[in-house]
Symmetry: D2
Subunit: 354 residues, 4 copies
């Protein structure tokens, strides 16, 4: 293996697929079976997800997290509506306008969210102002929150419940971008149900790709009076987005494998542990500043510029961010994964210290 293949901390999407997923794909590759989701593997998804989430659910597998988020929101928000989210939300800043495309031009409005978390207290005045504008402002019809957040933190189940309650009180439905849901659950040591529908989440984008799939995410509707009418429209929306795989068995097989016997959460637990190992190392470094809590598999650090250069010169890959004014150094992000080994973390730390 080339040397650089273990030095990429840019994202958890630079990883390969985990062996159990590859095995499941290979096993699915047999015979002619009905297309467009009528195969046995696809038909088993609702039950498998229902078991894991202890709920009645309707599940729609898709290829990318952008598709999962955008298609979910398109069922929750009319074209003339708008979505309340946090300013740093992936849907708002990193998805190339896909949510607006799938929602047919509906608007995303970002709330300030230090550390990636919205404050439940900020919802009522925002919702009231929106209402008071009448026809002049697109009405908020959904709230979207990200678990774990974009800054590597997590919401407590209580905070999610408070946000959801406020949203439901004002007639909004609630979406969770769970691209790193497994990492949040591993950190919180709660059940999948606790941090989702039991905390008021109506629709979940379940992230599989970063947790070890090749390319597999799922839109999960927790069935209730708010979500049932959405479910009926989903296959049409997915087809219309070009996201209905004809050979869907290969998509479903990945999700079934991830959810089998806790593979998914095991992968995420490992990723989190590697991130804590990295944090411990960085923490000891006197010139390194860690602006946020590390509650998933992402860590943000302000490094001296020289250190950043050094790492790049050694072939390390990671993202850099605009550093807040007045802070010396460079804000960077390292992401660990199921595929990260302790020795990969240690090598990175060694390069930093040297």
């Amino acid at each position: 293996m080339r040397d650089d293949l273990r030095k990429n901390f840019a994202s958890d999407n630079v990883t390969p697929a985990c062996p159990a997923v590859m095995q499941a794909i290979a096993e699915a590759n047999t015979g002619n079976v009905p297309s467009y989701g009528h195969d046995d593997l696809s038909l088993a998804l609702n039950q498998r997800f229902g078991d894991v989430f202890e709920a009645e659910v309707a599940v729609f597998p898709v290829t990318t997290g952008t598709a999962a988020n955008s298609l979910a929101l398109s069922a929750m928000v009319p074209p003339y509506g708008s979505v309340l989210c946090d300013q740093s939300a992936h849907i708002n800043t990193e998805e190339g306008g896909a949510p607006e495309f799938f929602m047919q031009g509906a608007k995303l409005v970002g709330l300030p969210s230090p550390e990636g978390r919205m404050d439940p207290a900020s919802l009522p005045p925002t919702l009231q102002l929106n209402r008071s504008k009448g026809v002049l402002a697109p009405p908020f019809t959904a709230l979207s929150l990200t678990q774990a957040t974009e800054w590597g933190t997590t919401y407590s189940c209580e905070t999610i419940a408070a946000l959801s309650e406020s949203a439901h009180d004002h007639g909004l439905t609630v979406h969770m971008d769970g691209a790193r849901l497994g990492n949040a659950i591993a950190h919180l040591e709660c059940s999948p149900a606790d941090t989702t529908w039991k905390a008021g989440i109506d629709v979940l984008s379940f992230g599989g790709t970063k947790a070890g799939a090749m390319a597999a995410e799922a839109i999960v509707f927790f069935l209730n009076d708010r979500t049932r009418p959405m479910v009926d429209t989903m296959t049409r929306r997915i087809k219309r987005g070009g996201h209905l795989w004809s050979k869907q068995r290969f998509l479903s097989a990945q999700l079934l494998a991830l959810l089998h016997d806790g593979l998914w959460l095991g992968n995420c637990r490992h990723a989190n542990a590697m991130c804590q190992r990295l944090r411990h190392g960085l923490y000891k470094h006197p010139a390194v500043n860690l602006p946020f809590a590390t509650e998933s598999n992402e860590i943000f650090a302000v490094l001296p510029e020289a250190q950043v250069k050094q790492l790049h010169s050694e072939g390390y890959a990671f993202y850099t961010y605009p550093t807040p004014q007045g802070v010396p150094g460079q804000l960077v992000r390292f992401v660990t994964s199921f595929y990260t080994r302790p020795e990969d973390v240690d090598a990175l730390l060694e390069s930093l210290i040297s």
Copy 2:
């Protein structure tokens, strides 16, 4: 293997992936590599396609044929424009409105096309009428044709050239839906270049899934003054459609495998041969009517109703179509694939005869 797994003639998308594709996916599954198409496999696509098509090309891999067609057209047609296609075109009748979605509401206008082929003579009057309406009618800005057609026939390279010339003369660009391009090439015994850019095609939806991939299609721009400005917008359009795989190596690996050493065309040649075998058998059947030439891997037949019932009762899967008025019997379609064996065809024929 379950008995029904060889009795599904509903489509070439009910098939598994072919072994070489599975092998390529497994080989791609190693190490952390850059995401979003910056991996080595993805970077090799332009060259591989360029070699096969003997042209300078820009290639964008996507998951589904619907996505390939819709994204291609979205780069060719402004939202206030329209596309001329044949009445039976997949984009017009079978893609759940995806082309209109990606084109942001641009219109598809279907020309009559007995046997799935548009008549070059029908273009000039249609284009002139459109022009004469001025601002009242969305201007035609692209022509889309399907090779092989929806009725199992193929266009000759000369007819494509005549259609393209007419389109170019009126300022349109030309798109080919090549979901079954390999089958057409195998039938025509021409080169990939002959039936595409040498016949005036500007943009191709290259079909991989039906030819043996798990889920892999490609949007191929044949570089010229008309297509170069489109190319620059494509990655943004693909991301915005939720179609940019983070682990794109797994998508690219499939296409590279298909194009390696003629695997693709070999698969299609086999599928066509199985379809001819089926045709020969059906032809001998006195009560069976074959309305179209069989020039790819699809055959349409009018069967007696009893026969249709019989096949269904034995577990055979195939599509039925509204039968033209006055014709006795039921119009059905059988599709063969790389995965169809001679004995599968023979068993079907035997069931029919008995």
Copy 3:
């Protein structure tokens, strides 16, 4: 007045506004009043339309017929749906793609309609085929018909009722493009209710501009269980389309004036009478062919080419159409209006004969 101002038979939209409408606009021009439809004139619309149509209605005034049709359909059809209409429908051929734009890419599918009228018998097979395609074809969710039709004919109330019944039976709602509704009513000698909601129409685009307004159309919802949920979304859709006048009193005043004391129908009756006068004259002309019945204020005629040239050279304005193959001469259209005088018709006829 310039000579050409009476020689324009191109459309009924080349006309000025009728005096009563101008008077109403002038009278509305007093004082500061609430904007965006909260003025007294706008608040009187529902009652006035309700009286004329003998029904409970919700009325939304807009500027153009294209806006009325497109906004109405946008409330009736989801983005992933489609509309069944006649092939020659204005929404399908003359509105620059506006319906697709407002419906966010939903599709229009045109039924054959000799003389502009769909055949109720053609609906059930079309709707069943659509249903059988499942997710592959956008589902028909609305039927749109045009009264009077694009070819100058009208639907009988019975035919409309048969079309509506078939549509309702399949879960579609029914829209009427009534750009020339007054002309149809004047011809049919029925009540406004007879040819609309009593025949099953759910939503009407009421045409005011061609009947004497400056620029005023109305979207009229006949309130029932199908339409009530649509009504709630309309003001937002109108605002989002840039169609909510701040000084809406000036729009509402026009509609109130048209509906006062039968002005609207009187104008249309006059237009129809002028059209019959023209027909009588044309009919006598041996070289003139009249392909359609004349049941409103439009007449289509096949004229010898020399005659067409002659009229153009004298400054007459009218539309020409592609003439069906094999028919000698040129298909043209003449449209009369409330503003056409008998002597204008006679002068035209004289030019033709000479």
Copy 4:
């Protein structure tokens, strides 16, 4: 006249049309003339606007400011792009999502703008961050600024030039929402050219309705290499939006009247003077706080709650806004117009003082 008709300070769009506009409409009401903008009045617009703005222009009249802004932006920004504007911009907060609708889902991103004015220094880092995100963030392709601003202030011509230069340097085009452009020009005592194209504006939404029209705005392209390709698409975009009046003479007549002999600027000068009269009165009031400079015809004031109640009880109409935390009282807005008389202002002040 009813008493309340002079007590409405809610907006300058509650006003009637000014007499010269009504006169122009009446004069346009003669004879049949070509529709869809081919009449003589419409054909005179480019010249009239060109004279006033001392530039070569292409002008497209529409009914509402929302339509003008949204259609202008739709020609400047591709569906996958985004617009940089100030946080309080009307397009971002008060147009019901129309810009996103017409831009087909392109995104608006708001910059902080105390007093409604963006800081030229904030552009470069914002534009660089956007660029650095590559395909993940929709690229900024237009800058939109509002003159006069939403908070009653104006940009100096120098600031506009600095903003435009920065935008042009990064490949953006520049749009001005000039719903109250006349008020800004009257305040700045500059020429229409100075604050628009001479300061780098490419496309202007020219506001007529608030300056005395019935319903008339104009999209004005200052012709240059950036704008010429946009111009060609406009009539199609306008038709597709349902905004192409068939009897366009009535729209054009209003604009011609406003631009004749400085009527427009005279109306705005009067409105500004009334606003200054109001400011002088409010300023003297010890309990009234005026947070912003008053540089057009809008004034914002923080009033004691009791005063607000009192005014409402007397029938005064005006908008209230969320008051910044910690500030005692209620933030309100008063808008004056060409129609406001000195005695109307004085009566309002008297009610306040009493």
